[in-house]
């Protein structure tokens, strides 16, 4: 059977929200839900895309390594859409998202003779309101990474606080003008990521948004906000636009920004970034 072409991110925003809603697949209970948060532990839920352009194995490895020293932080990585539900994030302290509105689904399994696609979008009419409510009403933090801004929903764009601009080609990107007044970026010097997609954003409401840093694409010279943060009700949202490929996670300074961002989003006191030897996963 011919395999239907996977949708591209460019088609995502073209699809109507109604059509997107029609593909919503709340699949609670399809796979066993993880256990509830234990007393004293921090629960982080990571929901990232895995498709022809995005390698969530790489992202998961990077994120687990950054937080490897935090032994009481439980990081739950959703490797399939089947496990994603409002219940999954109902007691989470932080969610980390890095996926666009792509309805593509990948099933990790040992051997497979078909692509096994499903129609699903993380930012559906069940999950998007749950994300907003958990941040706004319960104080959950949200680290919205890279292509999260390309979610195709106005309510989420408003909540995250930016208008998304699509990236151009993969290219070197300079991250610069780190906000020296903010604890997430204080003391961080400019750095270059060898290869990245430079998404851009326009801040919707500068009065309620703090810009953390800017980016400059080396090929096309676009200069854009690259990181920002804002308070939403009881919770905090941080947007970090680097992250298309593994290269940014090889930059120590960016890993430190990521580390601090997680603490800040959870309203925790920011601990010193551990040395690289303390971040080995295996």
């Amino acid at each position: 059977m011919p395999i239907p072409p996977a949708p591209t991110r460019r088609t995502v925003l073209k699809a109507s929200l109604a059509a997107a809603a029609a593909t919503v697949v709340p699949t609670v209970g399809v796979e066993a839900a993880p256990r509830h948060k234990a007393p004293g532990e921090t629960k982080i839920v990571v929901m990232m895309g895995h498709d022809g352009m995005h390698n969530d194995v790489s992202y998961e490895m990077a994120i687990r390594s950054i937080f490897a020293s935090k032994k009481d932080w439980r990081i739950w990585a959703a490797r399939t859409n089947k496990v994603i539900s409002p219940e999954l994030i109902a007691d989470a302290d932080l969610i980390i998202t890095q996926r666009f509105g792509d309805p593509y689904e990948w099933n990790p399994e040992g051997l497979a003779d078909g692509v096994g696609t499903e129609r699903y979008t993380l930012y559906n009419d069940t999950m998007a309101p749950a994300m907003i409510a958990n941040v706004r009403d319960r104080g959950m933090g949200w680290l919205a990474v890279h292509n999260t801004i390309w979610n195709g929903r106005k309510d989420l764009e408003d909540f995250i606080g930016v208008d998304a601009e699509l990236h151009q080609e993969v290219q070197p990107v300079i991250y610069k003008q780190f906000n020296q007044e903010h604890p997430v970026t204080k003391g961080i010097e400019p750095f270059c990521v060898n290869l990245d997609e430079q998404f851009g954003v326009k801040i919707k409401n500068p009065g309620e948004t703090t810009i953390l840093f800017r980016s400059l694409a080396v090929h096309d010279r676009r200069d854009s906000v690259g990181g920002w943060c804002l308070q939403r009700g009881k919770g905090r949202v941080i947007g970090l636009l680097p992250g298309h490929l593994e290269w940014c996670y090889r930059v120590e300074a960016y890993c430190e920004v990521f580390w601090r961002a997680a603490f800040w989003a959870m309203r925790r006191e920011i601990e010193p970034f551990p040395k690289s030897g303390d971040r080995d996963l295996w």
């Binding site: 059977m1 697949v25 390698n55 194995v57 490895m61 399939t80 990790p108 003779d113």
Partner: protein, 271 residues
């Protein structure tokens, strides 16, 4: 319920358990069985590779492509009736074991593919049974001397991801005949040196940034089997080039000693 848009053929074929308990896919009469193995680590997106390969061969409805997504699930029995092995697989273990379920709290390190057992099985199936072997990109960096000998290439070196020119295509060989020189927007230009002058060079490459030139594709016969080495293929961009998709299509036919049918999307974008 999720809408399933691509039904696996497992249930139709009656997939069975191998001796070790690992699932294998016995070939059905009349079908072509292709085993696909790729890296899935922080540098290589196995999903992108699998999607690209399946897309190239999407019109071949009687070609069954069994992808090894977790090297720990591989068993030599999978190759025993395979017509072709397509590998884009380097020396490293999978970053994670990927059969742990949909949500993972404590990940487990994955497995290496190029074990002694797997290596022996690949060589024996090519040499003694006539299985075709299409070795892409990372395979030339697999760290197995016996596989490099099968490919007839010395250990390779990689470089930064950069635009790569594919040029000097061999128009006397059916795999590359009529394919114009072309450009890959972003790739690691793997560079290698062939061991034997008898191996047929299919094309050469030039790294745009570092100006390095290298053989990029070649083919040879080993015992009853045929081997094709193609060095482009680090990321999805390589498989977007129609010329490269054509070469992969033809190489698969050639390695299996089939008549090379026209690739439905065959075209030269530049020359």
């Amino acid at each position: 319920m999720a809408e399933q848009t691509q039904k696996s053929r497992r249930s139709e074929s009656g997939a069975r358990k191998g001796v070790s308990g690992t699932m294998i896919w016995p070939k059905i009469s009349g079908e072509t069985k292709i085993v696909l193995v790729s890296d899935w680590n922080d540098r290589h997106n196995g999903v992108a590779f699998e999607i690209a390969i399946r897309d190239i061969f999407k019109t071949k409805s009687d070609w069954r492509i069994v992808a090894v997504r977790d090297a720990g699930a591989f068993t030599p029995a999978l190759l025993a009736d395979a017509d072709l092995l397509i590998a884009n697989r380097g020396p490293d273990a999978d970053l994670f074991k990927l059969t742990e379920g949909g949500i993972v709290e404590s990940p487990v390190m994955g497995s290496r593919f190029w074990t002694d057992e797997a290596t022996r099985a690949v060589i024996a199936n090519v040499r003694d049974r006539g299985m075709g072997f299409l070795a892409l990109h990372a395979t030339a960096d697999c760290g197995r001397t016996d596989i490099l000998r099968l490919l007839d290439i010395e250990p390779v070196v990689t470089g930064e991801p950069q635009p790569v020119w594919v040029r000097n295509l061999n128009h006397d060989h059916p795999v590359t005949s009529g394919v114009g020189k072309f450009h890959i927007r972003l790739d690691e230009q793997v560079a290698g040196v062939l061991r034997s002058p008898d191996t047929v060079i299919l094309f050469e490459t030039t790294g745009i940034h570092d100006k390095r030139e290298s053989v990029g594709g070649w083919c040879r016969t080993e015992g009853k089997g045929r081997v094709v080495g193609l060095l482009p293929g680090h990321a999805a961009e390589a498989y977007e080039a129609p010329e490269y998709r054509t070469i992969i299509w033809r190489a698969a036919h050639w390695a299996m000693k089939r008549d090379i049918l026209s690739y439905p999307e065959e075209r030269n974008t530049l020359y």
